[in-house]
């Protein structure tokens, strides 16, 4: 299914609104949409909603041999996926241009900025290191996927705990969470992406563009920055020429936004930690809004067990019992085998044999006749083969009912 394109009048309306410093959702030029960070029951599971944009991140880990060039460093791997849920235009397992750009940008923001201490992920130098895998799923696309993905990824990484390991000689023991508390990753700083959309060759700019605004934008500038105001990466796309002042102004705006978002992430992390420590309830089930009319929740419900036994009994007694199975194989002709009752191989058999199956009992005379015929068949088909052995020559028994339990 294709994406619905913007009509010409929608386009002019949006551009006119940008000129008048107005936005569709009533935001100001430098405003972000509402950010909501929730953590799941697992460590390292996090959903971020940025307005209507929704992203799910999950961090997982695995012990792998390190890369030959870096034997003492762990591996961090990012995988952003555009789920077809997010937009009908996204195809599953298809490498689109947008997907490649987002993946690359996420890697540059989080891996190349060296925000994660990869050396602490080394277990045995040159043999075993932790591979940290970050899966980011885009669940709903309403613009500014990059910012949402970077917030989700860094929050999930900060939330994640890997199992503790102990090394004794050459033995590596991995402790389950019950045995030893899992260990958090050491994260030096939190780089966060901030996107700017430019209109009319850079005359107007908007922070956190929504999907419609992204469709009419001339160019996009993404700045990844941490709260110490250090720029981790800058990417300008769309082919707009920006002045030095504009980039500097953007970086100033970014520093304000990043410090706000970092505070929010830290608050969410602390909140989750506190609830877990107090033994309270946490996870997505708890973060589901209860006041919404579209949401409903029910407590644990017992299932009535009375009558189940009777229902099963009744069903069993009503239903026809399975016919008894003849376990010995019946060989009708050489090279053919038969197992069970009523099952007949149709290969190389005369049609008369099937009649034999259908009718319950037969006259002895007829049987003899049949036998003679069978023998004839044998003579025709194979001359010097072994004789036909009929292991179970009786006619099938009448179907008996199974005894009641």
């Amino acid at each position: 299914m294709k994406e619905t394109p913007l009509s010409a009048c929608e386009r002019t309306f949006l551009l006119k609104a940008v000129e008048e410093k107005k936005r569709l959702d009533g935001r100001q030029t430098y405003d972000y949409r509402n950010i909501r960070i929730t953590f799941g029951t697992d460590y390292g599971c996090c959903t971020v909603s940025l307005g209507k944009t929704r992203v799910l991140a999950q961090v997982s880990c695995e012990l792998v041999p390190p890369k030959d060039s870096r034997p003492t460093e762990g591996i961090v791997f990012f995988n952003l996926e555009l789920s077809p849920m997010a937009s009908p235009a996204f195809q599953p397992n298809r490498q689109s241009e947008l997907l490649v750009t987002l993946n690359r940008q996420l890697e540059r923001c989080l891996r190349n900025s060296k925000c994660i201490d990869t050396e602490s992920l080394c277990v045995v130098s040159g043999e075993k290191v932790w591979q940290i895998r970050v899966d980011v799923h885009v669940l709903n696309h309403d613009g500014n996927l990059m910012d949402a993905a970077s917030i989700a990824a860094i929050s999930a990484l900060s939330h994640f705990r890997r199992p503790d390991v102990a090394i004794q000689g050459r033995d590596i023991t991995i402790f389950s969470p019950e045995e030893r508390d899992p260990v958090a990753l050491s994260i030096y700083h939190m780089p966060i992406c901030v996107s700017f959309a430019f209109f009319q060759q850079g005359t107007y700019l908007l922070v956190d563009p929504c999907e419609k605004e992204e469709q009419v934008t001339d160019g996009l500038l993404v700045i990844a920055m941490n709260k110490h105001r250090e720029i981790c990466s800058i990417q300008s796309s769309g082919g707009i020429m920006l002045l030095k002042d504009q980039v500097l102004r953007c970086s100033k705006i970014a520093s304000v936004k990043v410090s706000e978002i970092t505070d929010l992430i830290n608050k969410a992390l602390e909140n989750d930690k506190r609830v877990r420590k107090e033994g309270g309830r946490f996870g997505f089930a708890e973060s589901m809004p209860k006041e919404r009319i579209t949401a409903l929740k029910r407590d644990e419900a017992p299932v009535e067990m009375t009558g189940v036994q009777e229902m099963a009994e009744e069903f069993l007694s009503k239903g026809e019992a399975a016919p008894e199975v003849v376990s010995s194989p019946v060989i009708v002709a050489t090279g053919t085998g038969q197992l069970g009752e009523g099952v007949q191989s149709t290969w190389g058999l005369e049609e008369e044999d099937e009649e034999d199956e259908c009718q319950g009992e037969m006259d002895k005379e007829e049987k003899k006749k049949k036998k003679a015929e069978k023998d004839e068949v044998m003579v025709i088909s194979d001359s010097e083969e072994e004789e036909v052995v009929v292991l179970n020559p009786e006619a099938p028994k009448s179907k008996g009912k199974r005894p009641k339990h």
Partner: protein
């Protein structure tokens, strides 16, 4: 020997759902069963690719997205189970030559994942307003080593169980639309599990009814 006891196992964990939470899809819902959580999104009826077009009914596509890694055979099997259940209830002949896409995202797996997928799918289809002849729900039963039947098992209970069964039950006659089983069990145990699932389905259908009632309470 097959005596089942009214133990603590026969409960449905705390369950809940939220509909219409994503803006892009035509219908969306999350379904929670205890800690297990699945997010579903539906697109359709929409244009269909020529090679997938069926001249007299809509083409239903189901995608199950795992939380970690790429989708594998296990997800394909789940997709098939859900697709066949949905095909049985959807009145797809009303939308010939069109496509329906159902995407299920696993958010957390703590047992009974397939039944949670089915419930999320049904809620999302309801939200999308697609014509269905009847509703369906999923119930998972596990038989533990003491031959006790546990409904809606957790991941831990699933691991310790001897057999695991998931049924899709329809809302009209409480018939079994789909069944997926693992492990060994007797015919009687199977019948007991079906009977129990039919009982449990009442609760879920009542929940569907309540949530729809709540949703449209301001309009009616």
């Amino acid at each position: 020997m097959d005596q089942i006891e009214t133990g603590s196992g026969s409960v449905l964990r705390e369950y809940g759902s939220e509909q219409n939470l994503l803006s892009k899809p035509d219908g969306s819902a999350t379904f929670l069963q205890g800690d297990t959580s699945v997010l579903a999104g539906v697109y359709g009826p929409a244009e269909v690719k020529v090679n997938k077009e069926i001249y007299d009914r809509a083409t239903l596509e189901v995608v199950v997205q795992p939380k970690v890694g790429m989708s594998s055979v296990r997800e394909r099997a789940r997709e098939q189970c859900v697709r066949e259940t949905c095909e049985a209830v959807l009145l797809s002949t009303l939308h010939p030559r069109s496509s329906l896409t159902l995407i299920l995202q696993v958010v957390h797996d703590d047992g009974s994942l397939l039944s949670c997928c089915l419930n999320a799918a049904c809620m999302a289809l309801m939200d999308a307003g697609l014509p269905m002849g009847r509703l369906f729900c999923g119930v998972t039963c596990a038989i533990d080593s003491d031959s006790q039947i546990i409904t809606d098992p957790t991941a831990q209970q699933e691991r310790e169980s001897r057999a695991l069964m998931t049924f899709a039950i329809d809302s009209k006659e409480r018939n079994v639309l789909m069944s997926s089983t693992k492990g060994s069990f007797s015919v009687k145990e199977l019948q007991q599990c079906i009977a129990l699932s039919q009982k449990a389905s009442e609760k879920i259908f009542q929940f569907y009814r309540d949530s729809v009632k709540r949703r449209y309470s301001k309009i009616l």
